[in-house]
Homo-oligomer: 505 residues x 2
């Protein structure tokens, strides 16, 4: 191992800065703000946060924790259990942390993933005391080479007072040259982002900081947590087919080129299933411009269906992870990882004209989308990049099963209990029932399409009943405000959204 | 007049295409789609739509009407009264048309103002049969020079099958060279928009189309409708002062430069009052990058406070209109009018780091904003550009009086009855009570700030009562869904949002 880390720590000036994770943790004081690498469980700082949790067992310690997105390695769970987090942003996806947030024991700021870097640059958030970023190597001239994600690591390192690097020997150093780090500069003084094609390289291969800021280097040897997505099932495969049918028709009428447009897909099993559906489709020469690259992207690369994939992190299942990380050279000319500010930047998303595919918690009959709040109040994970993509994509698509909890929850409701994406932004909704293309339609034109094509048959009459009641009252977007959330309150009271007449059907 | 229009119609090839508005209207058939110039009452096509309304009195005629934004000259009212409109987009602000929309007699698609051009380019909307655009002149080589707005005229003219020009002698031809027309091109094939400063000129001075498409030229002589904004009152002046106090503090702590950042302001009296407030402030060398340029922008230009103003239209009160239009040379080096796709483009808004100032209908205790729907159902005007700016600005500010209807409506409610701007996007809320800076705050941190600093004292206890009730139930964003819209339903039933205990206070 001695030899290995020396090959990876190539800047001689930093050789004497190797420290233990306990030493690093000892520098972190109550009230500080930390910027941690990590995006969708990939490339997260692992050792120092764990040591910090241990330290918090001995003394009072509350810190603000900023990340790229969700962390792996149980870090969010351990931090939540230790009560070490005062404020967390911009995203999390851990059950224990979620509970703590919803119990009011911890503050959570749910941000668009492209906005965090801008807020840090504007000095709007607490200044970052320590950036703690995972790397596969540090070059001769002190450039930090990230591992399996970039996330917000570059802006953290740039703006933090101090930087701690976790040099992770369990991550392949073949990742070197797979990143493209671009710094935007101050608003009002910056140039256009010179990216016009998915495969454009516009920056450097790593993060360059003043090496005086690098206070310590912790050598680690711990793989990323594998993703938790489940393989496609019959329903997700059906959804994928509906979506692909829709795209096929768009090509037929000349609205999309034969190789579609660069694809973005949110994290999760549904989005992964859609990408899997493309494997068996006629589409080739596909491009991906996304946040997280999941198993299916690599399956599509292996099958020669994808020309190029640009992302911000790589999150894979256990088997795929092993295969990809240690054969990464195979993908060298087809892969780039960028800061999340660039992978999710409205400028690029609009310029390239992406097709974005994300998963809602619920949609309503007018096309508003709730991506975050269960029953309008409890945080699930966060909006993530769905807003960045949805607002600016050429085609903003939401894909969900029409029901959940054995049919006691309808994913199509009269009025979503929290709005993350407004009717102005949502183009197409897909469920296992079919799809509703909402583009250019007034609210009242959308209703029958959404009910007929997307809602589960169990709930269609009930949705129509609400709508007819609302229609009587008139308006651009008819609602019966007294009953708008009746489905949600009924679920809380009775365990089902089904109206009484339906409850034993 | 003969002489005058000849000076303005300089392309000899078009001399024989002068027609009457009745002839133009005769070409327009039932079921067609029209693209009309016009943005915030400025630069609208006037004669042909009026002739069309007359024609519709004689025969069945329903057309789709796309514009830049609102029209003047009572066109929307007349079209609504004549029942001539099947579908209208992306914005309107006429009382009669609003009623027709809300009664369900007309379809209205409420779009982000930067999105319409993109949808047209993607062939997602009905193809445009006739673009009808007002101009001050046509150059020797057939370039159409718009008048007081650009709006969507350039994309309409580009994509329409036929173009009719209204050459309006009542508009000063000194507007020639005040426009900057830039065409983005197809998504996936376009370059970055090369605009990095407010005063950058990136395009041509007019709209170039294949002159074979110019089917007719109608000579008109009718001024724009003046704006209907009212002068600042004590309350709007107080709001302006709170906002300026906030900006001053941002400068003091180094977050903003001394000349602030380019300013955007929505249309209306409140936004105009805020700009008026800057007249008496210490701020100089200001820049404006906005949609509509109202009276106050010209007052600030006259006072030497603004260096440069970029907009998409000029909408002025009657007095100011007379003064500005015929002395437009005075502003020649300080003014540009751009297509609304460019004035409102996320790429530019984010790059320049705008301060955007818009007016909500209502806000809620977590910072969500309703800009469009009265009591959640009835359309007021439309979202306009507020979404384009709010999502991408450096500082997204909403300014409103804390109460309306003599205090029977609170502008701060538990849950907005329609969401146009989500909690992820709203930075600062200002009322005559003060301001709430929401940046970097979790939902629960925002509540006391919004109630204490923004809500009217009459409603503060009532808001706290709702929140305390909700807090008991927990969650990231506590709500009592059963009571979320109680304030709105109470207003409908009793004429006031005040709870019973307060109703005679």
């Amino acid at each position: 191992m001695e030899q290995t880390y020396k090959q990876r720590l190539r800047d001689k000036r930093l050789e004497d800065r190797i420290i233990s994770e306990e030493t690093a943790a000892s520098w972190i004081k109550d009230g500080m703000t930390l910027g941690l690498s990590g995006f969708t469980r990939a490339g997260d700082a692992k050792a120092v946060p764990s040591a910090l949790v241990e330290k918090a067992k001995e003394e009072h310690l509350k810190v603000n924790v900023y990340t790229g997105a969700s962390l792996g390695s149980d870090i969010d769970r351990l931090m939540a259990e230790a009560g070490v987090v005062n404020k967390r942003l911009p995203f999390q996806a851990d059950k224990t942390m979620r509970n703590e947030i919803n119990q009011g024991d911890m503050l959570f700021v749910d941000q668009h993933l492209s906005h965090t870097a801008e807020a840090i640059r504007q000095d709007v958030l607490n200044p970052i005391d320590y950036a703690i970023v995972e790397a596969v190597s540090i070059t001769e001239d002190g450039m930090i080479i990230p591992s399996t994600s970039v996330g917000n690591s570059s802006i953290f390192a740039e703006k933090a007072e101090n930087v701690i690097v976790e040099l992770n020997l369990a991550q392949s150093d073949a990742f070197e040259s797979l990143h493209d780090i671009y710094e935007l500069g101050a608003q009002g003084k910056r140039q256009p982002i010179p990216l016009t094609q998915v495969d454009d390289r516009i920056g450097t291969i790593g993060i360059q900081v003043d090496i005086e800021k690098i206070k310590g280097i912790v050598i680690t040897n711990q793989p990323d947590s594998p993703s938790t997505i489940v393989p496609p099932d019959e329903e997700t495969a059906t959804m994928a087919n509906h979506l692909i049918d829709f795209l096929r028709k768009e090509v037929e009428i000349g609205r999309l080129p034969e190789n579609l447009a660069p694809l973005q897909s949110g994290i999760g099993s549904v989005a992964n299933a859609v990408f899997h559906g493309l494997l068996d489709s006629e589409f080739t020469d596909l491009e991906v411009y996304s946040e997280v690259l999941q198993d299916a992207v690599f399956d599509l690369l292996d099958a020669g269906k994808i020309k190029f994939a640009s992302g911000c992190s790589i999150t894979l299942s256990e088997d795929k992870l092993e295969e990809v990380y240690w054969n990464i050279d195979r993908y060298r000319d087809q892969l780039l990882l960028r800061p999340q500010e660039i992978s999710n930047h409205p400028e690029i998303i609009r310029r390239l004209g992406l097709i974005s595919i994300n998963t809602p918690l619920e949609v309503d009959i007018y096309g508003n989308v709730n991506s975050t709040h269960v029953l309008g109040t409890k945080m699930m994970n966060g909006i993530g990049g769905s807003g960045d993509f949805t607002r600016n994509s050429r085609l903003a698509i939401f894909v969900t099963k029409s029901i959940a909890k054995n049919g006691d929850i309808s994913s199509v409701v009269p009025f979503v209990s929290h709005v993350d994406h407004t009717e102005h932004d949502v183009d197409v909704i897909v469920t296992e029932q079919g799809y509703a293309d909402l583009r250019g339609l007034a609210p009242k034109e959308r209703v029958p399409l959404i009910i007929e094509n997307c809602a589960h048959p169990t709930y269609r009459d009930q949705l129509y009943a609400y709508y007819e009641d609302a229609w009587e009252k008139g308006g651009q977007t008819p609602h019966v405000l007294e009953k708008a959330f009746e489905w949600h309150t009924r679920f809380k009271e009775t365990g089902t959204m089904k109206a009484a007449a339906l409850q034993h059907s």
